[in-house]
Amino acid sequence: MTGLGWALADGWTIARRTLTHWRNQPGLVIFTWFFPVLMLLMFGGLLGGAMEFPDGSSYYELLVPGIFALAMLFGLEGTMTAVATDVSKGVTDRFRSLPMSSTAVVLGRCIADMLDSVVTLVVLVATGLALGWRWHEGLPSALAAFGLLLLLRFALLWVGIFIGLTVKNAQSVTMVQVLVWPIGFLSSTFVATSTMPDWLGTIAQWNPLSSTATASRALFGNPDPSATATWIGTHAGLAAVIAPLLLTAVFLPLSAHRFRTLSR
C-alpha cells in the first residue's frame, strides 16, 4: 500500500476506536446525542408560547434549524475533551511512537467526530419532524442545508483539536466549555437577532453560528426575520460557506503546528 493508502487505513482504525467506545459505553454517547434534543424540547416548551410569527407558523420552524447549528457548536466540546484526554493519558504519545503518519491520528479523530455529528443531526431531525418542523424547499435544498451545518462542524473540529492540544488535560477543557455557551446563545439560534438591542444584535449576526442557522433556515424554507435585517443577514449563505473555510484555514495549520510542537 502507498503512504496515502496507509494513512487512510490507519485513520479508519483510529476512527473505529471511537465507534468501539460507543459500543462499550452506549449510555454516555446516547446522552451526548440526546442533549441537543433536550435543548430543543426545553426551549421550544419554555419560549414557544411567547413567540408569535406574522404568518402564524410554529416556533419550532425557527428553533429547529437553530438547534441544528447549536449542536454543531456543542460537538466542539467532544473534540476538545477527546484530544486533551488522549494527550494527558499518553495515548497520543503511543500513537506517535508507532510507525504511522500523524495525518492518520488527526484523520481518525475527524472521521469519528463527523460521524458523531451525522448521528446527532439524524436524531434531531427525527425529533424536529415529530414536533411539526418541516423543510419546504425540497430534498436537494435540505441536503444543502445539512451540508452547511456539517461544514461548520468540520471547521469547529480544527478549533477543538487546537484547543485540546493546547490545554492538554481534560480538566482545563471544562473551563473552555463554559465559554462555548455564551457563543451558542449570542446568535440567531433561539430568537431573531432583529429583536435584540442594536449593538448586541450586530455581534450576534456576525457570529458564524448565526450565518449557518440563517442560511440553513433559508434552504429549509423556514422563517428567519434576521435574514433581512443587515448586510451580514442578507448574505448569510455566503457567510455560512466563507466563515467555516476561514476558521479551517486558521485552525488547521495551527493544529498541525501544535501537533508537531508536542515534540519540543
Binding site: D10, R16, N24, G90, V91, R94
Partner: protein, 313 residues
Amino acid sequence: MTTERVIEAVGVRKNYQGGTDGAGLNGFDLEVTAGTVTGLLGPNGAGKTTAVRILSTLLEMDSGTATIAGYDVRRQGAEVRRRIGLVGQYAAVDELLTGRQNLVMFGRLNHLKNHKSRADELLERFSLTEAANQAVSKYSGGMRRRLDLAASLIVAPRVLFVDEPTTGLDPAGRIEVWSAVRQLVDGGTTVLLTTQYLEEADQLANRISMLKAGKVVAEGTPDELKTQLGSDWLDLVLADPADVPRVVELAGPLADGEIRVEDVRVSVPVKDRTKALVVMANSLHEAKIEPEDITLRRPTLDEVFLHLTGAAA
C-alpha cells in the same frame, strides 16, 4: 551474545525554558549492547523520561547525536519507530476499550495481518486472557502495566523502552511487572529501563547507568556498582539526646567510615551486617541504653549519589 550497539547517544542536550515539563539533559551519553537490559537509574528530575522520549523520537533534542539500531533519531524517525516499543510512565492504553480491543487496534496500526491471533497470543503470554474482554478501566495497576507491555510488543521490537514501569504500583503489582519484564529479557529483547528504585535496577538490569542532573555519573554492572555504592547502614534512633555521644563511642569499632549524627539518629556505615547488629545490640544492652529503633538498611539513592559524586543529590 553479539556486541552490536543498538542504542548509542553522545552528548545529548535538551533545555526546557519553562522547566515545568520535565528535566533537561546536559551532555547525556549512553551505549547499550544488543540483548541486554540497561537500567537508567536516577532520582526524580534527573532527566530519565526526557532521555527515553528523545531516544524514542517523541521529543527533539537541542544538540548531540543518538542512533537506534544504526538509525539517527533526528533524521530517520520513521525507521527508528519501526524498531522500537515504548512503555510509558503512564500506561498508554485506551481505558474505554477492552484489553483485547486495545491489542487488536495496535496490531492493525502496526499493519499486522494476523492482528487477532497476535492479540490472543500476547494476552495469554501476559496472563490477561481471563480479563481480555473487560474494559481496561476495570484493570488493576499491575494488569494495566502488563497490557501496556503487551501493546509495545505487538511487533517484536529491537529495542524496548520501559519508563518507570512500577511507579505507583503496590508491591504485588510491582512483582507482576518484574516477572513480565524478565520474560522479555529471556526472549532476547534489548531493554532500556528507567527507574528510581535501586532494587528494581538491581533485580532486572545487566548494566546500570546512573543519571544525575541530566548526565550519566556512573556506569557498570550491578555488582561493579554495588562495590562502589558504599556500605550498608545501621540506623539507631535514641530516646534521649544525652545518650548520643555514648552511642557514637560504642559504634566506633564497627564503623566502616564516618558515623553520621542527625538529632537523635545515629547512622553507622557497617560491613558485616549481622555481626554489626548483634554486637551493637549487646553493647547497648550492657550500657543500659534503650533505643527507640534499630535498623539495618541498604544505602538510599541519595547516599549512593553522594558517595559516587561527592555532592548532595
